[in-house]
């Protein structure tokens, strides 16, 4: 089952015929009471000819995604997503159920985002040589959401790993390597060790202790624990490869969460992804 087929399988049975309209899609959006829409090149468009989604349809999507075993995905549902074999990720939105003041799950789904991963081998060709010239140094990949940070991260991990670097990958949402039954669904290289389905802040420490990496890779630094994990890794002499949401380095530096990383000069390089006319452009910048 390829990535798109995996995503189409999650749709209600009478909508699977629309697979052609989904070719090249980054995400399929299903919202109760609205017709499904598709996200391509950062632009969301309604899929023509499909009926409105019902809340039962959304429950059915979650049932298919978990193989009628929602209870097995409860820990990730608490974080608002479910990983599906093949690397497809289901983002969930609805009425949050609280237990002891903390989110315990989501009841009455109101919308679902089916995110379709893309493996673009070769997408890092233009920046790989400059990044590794003189030895790979800690690098941050920056872009707004939906521009392909995870895709570029995966490709850089693969290239570095195949070049003989021991890479440890914190894949908390299972999007980078999409490990299923112990095996990565995406090619992340021959020297890559993957720790999935747990917070980066915790798994990075485990990987540093257990796997002796030369490079630690993590997708999306979003929490203070992630920042601390990044600093600890660099403190251990490990190079870091990470992604973060920002429009560019200037925008990144203004975010309070990231200020400490910049002040401590954790990253030596930044790669900014920009989209113009449906195409992605990668810009490398040495950070001072």
């Amino acid at each position: 089952m390829d990535d798109l087929a995996g995503a189409v399988f999650l749709l209600p049975g009478d909508m699977r015929g629309a697979a052609e309209a989904l070719s090249g899609a980054e995400e399929i959006r299903l919202r109760a009471g609205k017709a499904p829409s598709v996200l391509k090149n950062g632009e969301e468009r309604q899929i023509a000819g499909l009926r409105k989604i019902t809340s039962e349809d959304l429950d059915g999507v979650l049932e298919r995604a978990t193989g009628a075993s929602v209870h097995t995905a409860q820990s990730s549902i608490r974080n608002g997503f479910v990983s599906v074999p093949g690397g497809v990720r289901l983002g969930l939105c609805g009425s949050a159920a609280l237990r002891g003041g903390e989110i315990d799950g989501i009841r009455r789904l109101s919308s679902v985002s089916i995110r379709i991963p893309h493996e673009l081998k070769g997408c890092a060709d233009g920046i790989y040589e400059p990044l590794t010239d003189g030895g790979f140094k800690s690098t941050l990949i920056i872009s707004p959401p939906g521009c392909g940070k995870t895709t570029l991260l995966r490709e850089l991990v693969r290239r570095l790993s195949d070049a003989g670097h021991r890479v440890s990958l914190c894949d908390d949402r299972g999007e980078v390597a999409a490990v299923w039954d112990g095996e990565a669904q995406f090619d992340v290289g021959r020297c890559t060790d993957v720790m999935s389905d747990a917070p980066k802040g915790q798994t990075s420490v485990m990987l540093l202790r257990a796997m002796n990496p030369q490079i630690l890779a993590m997708d999306e630094i979003t929490a203070p624990a992630d920042v601390q994990a990044a600093e600890e890794a660099v403190g251990c002499g490990v190079q870091l490869l990470a992604t973060a949401h920002a429009a560019g380095t200037a925008d990144f530096q203004t975010r309070p969460l990231y200020r400490r990383l910049m002040e401590d000069k954790v990253f030596k390089n930044a790669v900014t992804i920009t989209m113009r006319d449906g195409r992605r452009y990668y810009t490398r910048e040495a950070l001072k």
């Binding site: 399988f9 049932e63 209870h71 409860q74």
Partner: protein, 169 residues
């Protein structure tokens, strides 16, 4: 010849009564088996957090014989999970293989299918415990009645056969 025919009718009526008594006994055993099956399923899903296919595999190995056909049918159709809502699979297999149960009992079991695999473990556990309790009570109520009913069914069959036999002779 008349005597031989009358005896055959007596035997047939007695056998019909015995079959009815056996069916009653089977129903009682099935009520208990469904309760046992639900306890195992609850342990797998809510205790070990097994996915539904794994839980069905465990049930197939450990379920009482009275529910073996039901579990066998579910396992046989487990490839349809995703294509078809699990609740529908559950209901169809129950209707096909647990016909010995009454309409209310089947309805209770089918209602459980709408919860299985769809909600978090505590919600499923509560639903399975309620359903298991329903079947435990149904079994407890049916058990004292069943021996009387079995005797009555067998006795009625034999009596009817005897009356016809006497009439014919």
């Amino acid at each position: 010849m008349r005597l031989f025919g009358a005896m055959l009718i007596f035997i047939a009526c007695s056998a019909a009564g015995a079959l009815r008594a056996a069916a009653l006994w089977k129903k009682v055993k099935t009520l208990s088996a469904v309760e046992g099956m639900l306890r195992i399923l609850s342990g797998e899903i809510c205790g070990r957090l097994s996915d539904i296919k794994t839980a069905l595999g465990v049930l197939k190995r450990s379920s009482p014989p009275e529910t073996a056909d039901f579990i066998g049918a579910l396992c046989g159709r487990s490839g349809e999970i995703g294509e078809m809502p699990f609740s529908r699979l559950w209901s169809e297999c129950a209707a096909q293989t647990l016909g010995v149960l009454g309409a209310d009992e089947l309805s209770e079991l089918c209602a459980l299918g709408t919860v299985l695999g769809r909600y978090d473990a505590p919600t499923q556990k509560a639903a399975m415990e309620n359903c298991a309790e329903y079947f435990r009570r149904a079994h407890a109520q049916a058990l004292p009645r069943v021996s009387g009913s079995m005797k009555a069914a067998f006795g009625a069959g034999a009596s009817l056969g005897l009356i016809i036999m006497i009439t014919l002779i």
